[in-house]
Symmetry: C2
Subunit: 738 residues, 2 copies
């Protein structure tokens, strides 16, 4: 007998959690007749806090185990990556609700206090994703979203072939140039050592690594980086176009702020020459952006402050105009390191016709500065392609899906704990437990050294995933690997070895360096064809913004799936965060504008996995999934997404429409008569009661709502507020209980 | 009254000189009615020798002055760049003809002998082109040749998108990276100095330079070059594809043999490790290729020779397979430095479907190694474009014309006397006469340092030429200049300044770095559109082979014009040399197979210039030119080019056809009734007497011919042999004397 699959739906925070009160009953009701169970598991901030003290079961721990089992099938909605203030608010709220939990000990003295603090600290920051994401990444645009974009294209700025915008990258001295890499031949311990000019050895870090793992290390010369910035800034000045810098200081949080800081040191060189002493005194850290100087300036005497401000004004006159984050507020590219994030910012320039915003609110061509060549060349390729072939037309372009090597802190995104800034000139080397020097780099003081550790099992799983996606989609797969890069060379060998394990008779595959992969992909893209980019971790991040933004205007509507290494699946929804403002609006005026489209689309994919998990013979599951996909298309086509203002269609009403379309599709399909028979009366009832149901929902709009808590709403109150239509509830519940 | 323009036709050597006996009377006869004089001037090797001793007028000196006058209008046929043996033969022949000239003094002792040797030495090597080419370069495919290729496309090898061929270039340490450049602000003397680590200064060279001239200097790190070769060779091995190296040792005769030698030092590393001492003893110079070792090997004891040969065999087993020049003969890419010449060899790989020939005569993918990035990236772009978009289709592609900065030893091609190999680590600097250090490079022993001097006037003329060509053709002009390269940055500034002098309302112009310029150009090229590449001296050389080979199968059929700086024009014909074998065939069996197509096409352009020189109001000249262009089309279409074998149509017969088509076109045109009236009876006579004329010519085939000399034919004998048709001669001569 076939197994009965269970889909885990996650209980999260804020708007998506509220939406779940309305949506989950529909999901349960519509999937039950197909033999699928849907189970709610609590990964909300409040739930995680309570679990720390044994008050509720630890669902995150449960899921952490589940993802290592093949039956894992999780729909994960956006949750809070808590800051300390959010945690304190949560504690206060839970205490007010009567939960017996201690205060947060800011300065723990006793062992007990320390333990309490440790428990709370486990709830801070990004703690859910690292537990649940035990696999690589599968990202693509779901067909309903793609179809919608083709019919309702977003605006893409015109591009002139005379555009002077271009991607500037270093010619030498960068990470790309210095990379060395090795594949381990046995399990071992690795030691990162710094050897100074006098032969003194300092151990920087020790890690465990396994046979088959790929270790790479490289460094960027700070001297060359600053020379490069100088050149590019001069070139921008010469051409009278904007200077812009695109890094990812949020993700590459150790290395990229330093690169960002060097841009400031070069652009504002005169400032440091004139006021070096003063800037040091007040503790200005360029790596935090010019805003750090503004914060600290008041520590100086007023005359000095004036002098510095005047010098900055003079610099702006001499140097090229800066790309602006917000020209009204005078916020420049160099104001804060986290404002311009490459994966979003370069697509924004592209969307804007290869133009950026200048200091006076003008749009102009810009130098898109991306110092390291490892990935800059592919941005260069697309920018130049656009200059030659014109702006992309969303009604005509194909699709670029991504299979990304993300598992187990792969590549640069796992390098933070192995990023070092040598305190003097010397050598950094990686030594195994037998004393063999595996990698060695001569570095100068302050250079950015970084090393990555990519796990064998993650790489092999990634290749498997690529082959599976190729077979499912019929699209060619392109491994974006550069045989002239040391790390990639190790990967190419592994990829070729691994591919031999599969039947590739129906798989078209390529291995191409990023620039050439982009060229190949764009050629197909412009012809309306589909291609799968099989990439490392950084390109995964970059491309899964770049192409969705070109294709459908936003990456928030892309499917984000983590096919777990153990065989299960994690289906993430909505890249837009958990939307605190939406909750405020709902509590204040009874209008929720969370769009559950991401949940609908993720559920389609989750159901397809459930079908496989059930043994592949329960076609009902596929029928339900297919009907949901079509319902999502109608939902988009007929514009049934929630609107912004009170009185208009809101989340609850949008769920009515989804349920109605889903039921209609199920009633109309001919593949499964039993399901059709079940859903015919449901569809009829939903159509017949359209006005009544929407009226019951609308009646609650414009009034404050009581949900009994912000971080930990009262389930009964929240459900009442989110399911105000008795008529709709009856239809849904009769299915659930039928 | 309008000036009567004179076209200079050059008397040259060997086959084209023989062809002139038959063709020139036709040319004179057909242009005379339009008011154009055609004058023969002797630049043949024999003529130049006789001129040295005052026996005949020095026509080359005359032309050397003429090219600096606006009335210059020269059709230059291929002539001999004499080697010493050719000179000795010429001297012997002239003496035998009774000319009183001395023997060549190989070891001159007296002042008189030294003077004689100096006179003769002035006749050796390439001495004509440097005198006549006082301008930049205008190269393109004439319409008749383009039309013919579209109708009769040459074969282009299919390319697989899975081709592993790619262009490998250095990631750093190359000329591209280290370039510095400056534009002189006044006339000055420049001193190239080497400063060793102890501060000792050696003056390497002094040159005069003028205000506005652009000086650049750079170096290639030999260490990095060898590391690069090592990487690329390993990658070729890894991928199991051919290793190929593409340089231009013939033209870059100081720097490129050293680069070539380093490839040998790396590929055959093991040989140097094992037999370093022996190789040094016998004086093996890797810069001369492995053939130099083969020549010297016999100096070693037989056992040692065997050991070395065995080691080489072993190296071939371990290293990647080499790209072959001639696999039957076992001649590899590394055999001789002048065998694989980049401008011809890369197009050959492209034409062959991105494949080269391997050691066993197999074709296979290959690494196309081009160490320096200055121009390698544009080859990379076209190679990758072909992998993505497929092979070019000669029936569909557009055309890429070239305007090249060639005048006054511009750029790298004039750098030989400023190329240095530092004898120790140190600094090479360029100092002006006021002691200012303009450029400075830290170099290591053996690095390749080179500096170029590009004259202000040459650059300005080049921009003018580009604008003129844009207006004449209606095509966009693209300046292939890289704003991230120091030299190009200086040029960009000059170009922008210079462009302001012209009315650009009808000119579409761009400045793009080579890779992007190639991308832009290829996009148009594949759509069948025309584009003008406005390039520096090296790209001129590369692109004027690359595109003609793709478009029409050979660069020999491209127009090559030097618009002289002073306003005149030099129209060069036939890139195929002066064809000694053709003369032998004619003397032996009365069949000459020189194709005068190049002369026809050059004359069309020469006539167009003559029209301008005559004041622009004598339309007859244009009518004659246009008719000749159409005649050349018919000549190609009806396949009236000379054939290879005796008994078939030969040069003389082909000239009959040209004359006939030309006359027919002139008779048929309606723009000038006077000309039509003159040529109607000529055309009729040529048609009527077709059989008779060709019969008179054919009657002389199969028999030996006496032309009274090889280097200095007897004019009467040669004319008799080359104009055997009394009937044709009468028709032509009546026009001439009419």
């Amino acid at each position: 007998m076939a197994k009965r699959p269970t889909i885990i739906w996650t209980k999260v925070d804020e708007a998506p959690a509220l939406a779940t009160y309305s949506l989950l009953p529909i999901v349960k009701a519509f999937t039950k007749p197909a033999g699928v169970d849907v189970e709610l598991r609590d990964i909300s901030l409040a739930g995680r806090v309570l679990a720390q003290f044994g008050i509720v079961p630890d669902d995150l721990a449960y899921l952490g185990e589940l993802v290592w089992k093949p039956e894992a099938n999780i729909v994960k909605l956006p949750n809070i990556s808590a800051s300390l203030p959010q945690l304190l608010d949560t504690i206060k709220e839970l205490q007010s609700q009567g939960y017996d939990i201690p205060d947060y000990p800011e300065n723990p003295q006793t062992e007990e206090e320390k333990e309490i603090k440790a428990k709370y600290d486990r709830c801070i920051g990004s703690v859910v994703n690292p537990v649940l994401r035990q696999g690589n990444s599968d990202r693509r645009i779901a067909p309903p979203v793609k179809e919608y974009a083709r019919k309702h294209p977003h605006r893409m700025g015109e591009v002139s072939p005379k555009s002077e915008s271009y991607v500037a990258h270093m010619k030498s001295g960068d990470f790309y140039e210095h990379e060395k890499s090795v594949t381990l031949r046995k399990d071992t311990k690795l030691r990162y050592e710094f050897v100074d000019k006098d032969g003194n050895v300092t151990v920087l870090k020790e890690i465990d690594a396994g046979m088959g793992d790929v270790i790479d290390a490289t460094y960027m010369s700070r001297k060359r980086l600053r020379e490069f910035f100088d050149e590019v800034i001069n070139d921008a000045k010469e051409k009278d176009i904007l200077f812009s810098l695109h890094v990812k200081a949020t993700m590459m949080r150790v290395s990229d702020p330093v690169i960002f800081g060097d841009a400031i040191r070069v652009y504002y060189k005169e400032l440091f020459e004139k006021f070096g002493k003063e800037l040091e005194e007040i503790g200005f850290d360029p790596n935090r952006g010019l805003s750090d100087l503004e914060k600290r300036l008041s520590k100086l005497p007023p005359e000095k402050q004036e002098e510095i401000k005047k010098t900055i004004e003079e610099i702006y006159k001499k140097q090229p105009r800066l790309y602006m984050v917000d020209s009204d507020q005078g916020i420049t590219n160099l104001h804060r390191p986290n404002d311009v994030i490459i994966d979003a910012s370069v697509p924004a320039v592209i969307k804007n016709g290869l133009k950026g915003w200048g200091p006076s609110g003008e749009t102009d061509d810009c130098v898109i500065t991306i110092p390291d060549r490892s990935y800059a060349t592919m941005y260069s390729e697309i920018v130049e392609d656009i200059k030659v072939r014109g702006q992309f037309d969303p009604t005509k372009v194909g699709t670029v899906q991504n299979v990304g090597l993300m598992a187990m802190k792969a590549e640069e995104y796992g390098s933070h704990d192995k990023t070092f800034f040598p305190s003097s000139d010397g050598v950094i080397r990686v030594v195994d437990e037998d004393g063999n020097v595996l990698l060695e780099h001569e570095v100068e003081q302050g250079d950015i050294y970084r090393s990555c550790h990519t796990k064998d099992i993650a790489i092999r799983d990634w290749v498997k995933l690529a082959v599976n996606r190729a077979k499912e989609s019929g699209y060619p797969i392109v491994f974006w690997l550069d045989s002239l890069r040391a790390h990639d060379r190790e990967l190419i060998e592994k990829v070729k070895e691994e591919l031999q394990k599969y039947d590739l008779s129906d798989v078209e595959w390529y291995i191409k360096a990023p620039r050439e992969a982009m060229k190949f992909t764009l050629e197909r893209f412009r012809k309306g064809e589909g291609t799968i980019a099989v990439t490392g971790n950084v390109l995964r991040d970059y491309l899964t913004d770049l192409f969705p933004i070109i294709e459908v205007g936003t990456s928030a509507r892309a499917l984000s799936i983590v096919p777990e290494i153990a065989g299960g699946g994690l289906f993430e929804t909505g890249a837009g965060g958990s939307a605190p403002k939406h909750v405020q609006q709902f509590v204040k005026e009874g209008h929720l504008r969370w769009d559950s489209l991401g949940e609908f689309l993720a559920l389609v994919e989750s159901l397809k996995l459930a079908y496989k998990q059930a043994g592949g013979d329960n076609k009902k599951i596929l029928v339900v999934a297919e009907a949901l996909s079509k319902a999502a298309s109608k939902y988009l086509d007929n514009d049934k997404t929630p609107k912004r203002k009170v009185g208009q269609l809101d989340t609850r009403g949008s769920h009515y429409w989804l349920a109605r379309y889903w039921a209609e599709e199920l009633a109309a399909q001919t593949e499964d008569a039993e399901l059709a028979k079940i859903f015919e009366p449901v569809a009829a009832a939903l159509v017949e009661n359209e006005e009544k149901i929407l009226g019951e929902i609308d009646a609650t709009q414009g009034k404050p709502q009581d949900i009994g808590g912000y971080y930990n709403p009262d389930d009964a109150k929240a459900e009442a507020a989110m399911r105000p239509s008795k008529t709709l509830n009856e239809i849904i519940d009769s299915l659930l209980n039928g």
